[in-house]
Symmetry: C2
Subunit: 573 residues, 2 copies
C-alpha cells in the first residue's frame, strides 16, 4: 500500500500576530521536513491564532491575513520546505464575507483553499457572527493519493463534508482544529474522531491548537486515527509538539471534480507517482492522556502563563492571604512562570489572624516567591474615620484598600495583578467589586471551591511523589475559610457549607437545572432559594471580574451571558 509520512504541528500561535505566526509555521515545517514528512498539518486559523473574535470583521486584518498566506507559501519554498504539502489555517475574505479558511501550500503556491462549512454558534463560539460558510471540498492529489480536508466543527456535525469526502473516495482526511479544552472533553472527542474516520473511509489527521487565549485554553491532544477507528498516533497535551507518523494508505479510485451532496468538489493534482517504498519510523507515538487532575492543573498553568506572556508581562503580583485560594493561585503561578516571577503581598488588617500571616509567609518560602508585608490599617483608618464607615461599607473598604495597593505596586514595578477568586464565590457574588475582584487575570475563576481544595491536595501529593516540597501550606488546606473582614468571620456565616453549595451550583449552573429539579434532587427549599437568588443577582459582579481560564462547560462570561437588569427569579413563576 502507498506510504505517506504525516506531521502534525501542534503549535501555540498568538492571536493577531501574523508575522510571528508565519515565522512559527516556517520553523515547524522545517522540523517536519527534517523528519522526512511529506505532509504537515497546522491547527485551524494557525496564521491568525484562534479565536480572533470581531477582528474577523476588520477588512484590513482579513486582507493582511490573505497576503500573509501568499508570502508564507513563498517563504516555505525558500526555506527548502516547498515539497512538504503544508496545511495552514487563516482568515479569508471574499465578496460574501469573512471565512474561517484552511489552505494547502506546495512549492511556493497556494494549491487549495477551503472554507469551514459548519459554523458553531453556541457556548464560546460566535461563528455566525464572524464567518460565512463554505461550499467546496478541495482535494489535493499528492504521490498518487487524494487528500481531503475539513475544519474543526465540520467533524462535530453528523453528515456534512466528512460523509461527502467518504463518498468522493479520498485516501486521507486532514482536519485543522482549534478546539478549546474542557474537563473530560477527550472522552467525547476521541470516539467522535474515530467514527468520522470510519465515515470518511480513510485515516483522519486531527491537529489541535495548544495554548491560552484570554479565557480559553487549548489542549492539543492531536490525533491520527485509522479508517477502522484505531488511534495510530496521539500528541501529548498542553505542549507544543511535532507528531510524526507513517501511514500505509489505501489508494482508492481517483476523486473527480463536480457536485456532491450540495458541495462542489475541486481537485488539484500535484503528483501521480506513489512514493518509492521506504523504511517507516518505529516506536509508539501514542501519548497517554493526563489524569483528570493533571489535565486541569496543566490547563490552568498554560492559561495563566500565556495570558501573562502574550500580554507582554513576565511577573505577577497578588495578595497572599494565607487562605486556600491565593495559595493555589501562587502554586499555579510558580509552575507557570517560576517562583522568582511571583510577588506575594501580605496585607494584614486589624482582623487578620496570626495564622494567616504565618501561612502567607510559609507559602512564599515553599514556592520561592518574593514576599512583602504591607499592612492596610492606615489606609482603612482614613476612610473609616473620614466617612464614618460601619458594617458592609467598612468590610468592603478593607478589600478595596488591598486592590488599590496591588494596583499601585503593579504601576510601580510592572507586574500583572492576579485576582484569586474561585468559581463558587463568583457564582454567588461573594466578593468585593474593586476589591478582591481587582486584577488582569483570575486563574481559578472557573474552579469551584471544593475543587480548589482537591487540586491543592493533589498538587502537594504530586510534589511528595517527586521528593519536592509541597507548594501549598497544609494549614491553608485544612483551616476553615474566612474573609477576615470582621472579628471571627467565617465564610459559613454568609454561605451554606461549600460541599452543599457546590453541589447545588453544579446542578443549577453547569446542569442548567431548575428549581423543581433541585427540589427533586433532595435539597432544602430554603437553601435552593437562597443560593439561586444569590446567583441570579450577581451578574454585574461577574461581568466586572477579569477573564480566567475556562475548564468547565458553563464558565461564567463566555458561556453564560445573562442580562444585568433582569427581574427573572428562578422558581418564582
Amino acid at each position: 500500500m502507498p506510504q505517506l509520512r504525516i506531521a502534525l504541528a501542534q503549535v501555540n500561535p498568538t492571536v493577531g500576530d501574523l508575522d510571528g505566526n508565519s515565522a512559527l509555521t516556517v520553523a515547524w515545517t522545517r522540523k517536519a521536513a527534517e523528519a522526512g514528512a511529506h505532509v504537515v498539518v497546522f491547527p485551524e486559523m494557525s496564521l491568525t491564532g484562534y479565536p480572533v473574535e470581531d477582528l474577523s470583521l476588520r477588512k484590513t486584518f482579513a486582507e493582511a491575513s490573505r497576503k500573509s498566506l501568499e508570502i508564507l507559501a513563498r517563504r516555505l519554498d525558500e526555506a527548502g520546505c516547498g515539497d512538504v504539502l503544508t496545511y495552514v489555517g487563516y482568515l479569508d475574505l471574499d465578496e460574501e464575507g469573512p471565512r474561517d479558511a484552511a489552505a494547502a501550500l506546495y512549492r511556493g503556491e497556494v494549491v487549495a483553499r477551503q472554507f469551514k462549512h459548519h459554523l458553531p454558534n453556541y457556548g464560546v463560539f460566535d461563528e455566525h457572527r464572524w464567518y460565512k460558510p463554505g461550499t467546496t471540498l478541495d482535494v489535493v492529489r499528492l504521490h498518487g493519493l487524494d487528500i481531503g480536508m475539513v475544519i474543526c466543527e465540520d467533524i462535530w456535525q453528523e453528515g456534512g463534508p466528512i460523509s461527502a469526502l467518504g463518498r468522493a473516495g479520498v485516501d486521507l482526511v486532514v482536519a485543522p482544529n482549534a478546539s478549546p479544552y474542557e474537563r473530560a472533553k477527550d472522552d467525547v472527542r476521541v470516539p467522535l474522531i474515530a467514527r468520522r474516520a470510519a465515515e470518511a473511509g480513510a485515516p483522519l489527521v486531527y491537529t489541535n491548537q495548544i495554548g491560552g487565549q484570554d479565557d480559553l485554553v487549548f489542549d492539543g491532544d492531536s490525533l491520527v486515527v485509522g479508517a477502522d477507528g484505531t488511534v495510530l498516533a496521539r500528541a501529548p497535551q498542553f505542549v507544543e509538539h511535532l507528531l510524526v507518523t507513517d501511514l500505509d494508505l489505501d489508494a482508492g479510485g481517483h476523486v473527480t471534480d463536480g457536485a456532491l451532496d450540495g458541495l462542489h468538489v475541486r481537485r488539484r493534482v500535484l503528483g501521480e507517482e506513489p512514493l518509492p517504498a521506504y523504511e517507516p519510523l518505529t516506536g509508539s507515538v501514542v501519548s497517554e492522556p493526563l489524569s483528570d487532575e493533571a489535565e486541569v492543573w496543566s490547563a490552568l498553568v498554560v492559561g495563566l502563563r500565556d495570558y501573562v506572556h502574550k500580554n507582554g508581562f513576565s511577573s505577577v503580583v497578588f495578595g497572599f492571604s494565607g487562605g486556600i485560594d491565593s495559595a493555589v493561585v501562587a502554586a499555579l503561578a510558580a509552575d507557570a512562570l517560576g517562583g522568582d516571577n511571583v510577588y506575594g503581598v501580605s496585607m494584614p488588617s486589624r482582623y487578620s489572624s496570626d495564622h494567616s500571616k504565618g501561612d502567607a509567609a510559609d507559602l512564599a518560602r515553599r514556592i520561592g516567591a518574593h514576599f512583602r508585608v504591607e499592612p492596610i490599617e492606615d489606609m482603612v483608618r482614613v476612610y473609616v474615620d473620614q466617612l464614618k464607615l460601619t458594617g458592609l461599607a467598612e468590610e468592603n473598604v478593607q478589600a478595596r484598600a488591598r486592590g488599590m495597593l496591588l494596583m499601585a505596586l503593579s504601576n510601580l514595578d510592572g507586574h500583572l495583578v492576579l485576582a484569586t477568586g474561585n468559581k463558587t464565590e463568583l457564582a454567588v457574588g461573594y466578593s468585593t467589586i474593586y476589591g478582591d475582584a481587582v486584577g488582569a487575570f483570575a486563574p481559578i475563576k472557573d474552579v469551584f471551591k471544593t475543587h480548589v481544595w482537591h487540586l491543592a491536595r493533589w498538587r502537594n501529593a504530586e510534589a511528595e511523589k517527586r521528593g519536592e516540597t509541597p507548594p501549598i501550606p497544609p494549614n491553608s488546606i485544612t483551616k476553615p475559610p474566612s474573609a477576615e473582614l470582621r472579628p471571627d468571620q467565617l465564610d459559613t456565616d454568609s454561605l451554606p457549607d461549600y460541599a452543599l453549595l457546590d453541589d447545588i451550583l453544579d446542578d443549577y449552573v453547569e446542569g442548567d437545572r431548575g428549581y423543581a429539579d433541585l427540589l427533586e434532587a433532595g435539597f432544602e427549599p430554603e437553601t435552593i432559594d437562597r443560593v439561586v437568588r444569590m446567583v441570579d443577582k450577581a451578574e454585574f459582579k461577574r461581568r466586572q471580574y477579569p477573564p480566567g481560564t475556562k475548564i468547565t462547560f458553563k464558565a461564567f462570561g463566555r458561556d453564560r451571558r445573562l442580562p444585568i437588569t433582569n427581574a427573572w427569579r428562578e422558581g418564582k413563576a
Copy 2:
C-alpha cells in the same frame, strides 16, 4: 371599504419580569379596549422584555414564558378585553429549541403563534445563539379581514415573509419589534417600512419597544404605514404611548392554508362579518420626530433612568469634578431622576484647581443636587508615603482613592455609582481602571468628547429657551479639559486635540477604516499611528468599564468584541 381600529401599545417591559409584563399587557389592552380598538399590537417579546440574552436558553424560563402566555390570554378575557385581538411577543420552546415568538390572543385563547424567521446575528444581536427560525405564516381572519404577522428582523431582510404575505393576499400586517435606538436610525427605518408595506400590498403596523435595558435603549417611534407607503400614524419617541388609529382596508381574496415560498401558511378564522360602519377618529396621530440632539439626549436620559430604576435603585452618586463630563452626566441624571436623587461629591486633591471646586458647587446648585466635599488628600498621602509612589502610580492612586470613596458612600447610603467617562477616553484608554472607571453605569460611555460639549451647549440653550436655569456651568464647557492628577496637567499633554482625535476615532472605530484610508483622509502618519495604537491596546480597560447607553453603530462592548490578548497592530502588516 372595511374599517378597523388599531392600537399600538408602545410599552416599556422589564426583562425577565413575566408577572409585571403580563400586568402591563392587561393594563394597556384595557386602555386599547376603552379607545374602541379591535386589534392591539405589543412589541417583540413584550412578555419577557428584549433582549433576554442567554436566559433564552434556560428551559425553566422558556416554560414559564409559555405558561404566562396562556394565563395572559385568560386574564385579558376576564378583564373584559377578550374581543380585542391582542398581539404579544414571548419566548417559546419546542423540540427544536427556543423561539422568538409572537402570538395572537382572542377571547381567552391563543389563536395564532408564529416564530421569527430571520435571526439577526450581527452588532448587538446574537439570535443564532438563542433561537431557531420559524417556518410558518399565521394568518388570523377577523371581521372579514386577513391579518398576517412578521417579527422585527423579518422586515429588514429582502424577500422572506413579507413578500410571501403579499402573495398570500393579507389585508393587514402587524410587526412586533424590539429595534434598539441608534443615531439617525429613523432615516433608514421609515423608508424601509414603507417599502415593506408596498411589498405586502397592505398597511403595516410596526410597534417598537421603548426603554432601557443594560446598554441598549429602545426609542419606540412606532408607525402605521399604508400600502402606498404613506405614514398614517406615528408615536412619539422614548415614552410609553398608546397610538390609536382607524384604517380603511382593502378586503382582498381570502388567504388559504398551504405552502408558500417554503413557508407554511396556517390560518384561523375568528369572524367573517365586516364591522358595521362607524365614525372614525379625527385629528392627526403623526408625531414629529425629535431633533438629533433631543433624540440623543432622550436616549441617554431614558437609558440611565431605566438602568437605575429597573435595578432597584432610586438615586445616584458620582464625582463632581468641575469638568464637562461629570457636568453633562449630572444634567442627564437630574433629567432622569430629579435633582433630589443626585448626590455629587467633590473630591479635591492637592492638584485640584479652585475653579474645579467652584464649578462643581455651581453645578450642584444649578440642578438642585445634594453636594458634599470630601478631600482625598489623607487617603492618597498614606499610599504615597507607605509605598513610595511616584509618577503614574501616584496619579492613579488619586483616581482610585476617589473610586473607593464613591463605593463606600454607595455602600453606606444605597446610591448607585455612575462613571462619567466618555467614548473618546474609552477608545484610547485615557482612564484609570478601578479609578474613574468605577461605577455600575456609564451614561456617556458612547458619546465622543466633542459630542459631549455639543450636547452641553444644546441642553443649556434649551433651558434658556424655556426660561429655566441652564444646568451646566458655562465655565465647565469653555475651560480646557484636565484630569488634574499632577500640576498644570492638560488632556492635550497625552492626547491630540479632541476635534482631531474624534475625527480619527470616527473613521477608525465607527467607520472601521484602516491605516491606508486614514492616510488618504489626510491625517498625519504619526498621529494615526499614535491613536490607532492607543485604541488597539485599550481593550482590557474597555471591558472593565460598566455598561452605558449605546447611541452609535459601533458602541464599545456589544458591537465590537476584540480579544484582549491581541498582537495585531493596524498598519503594521
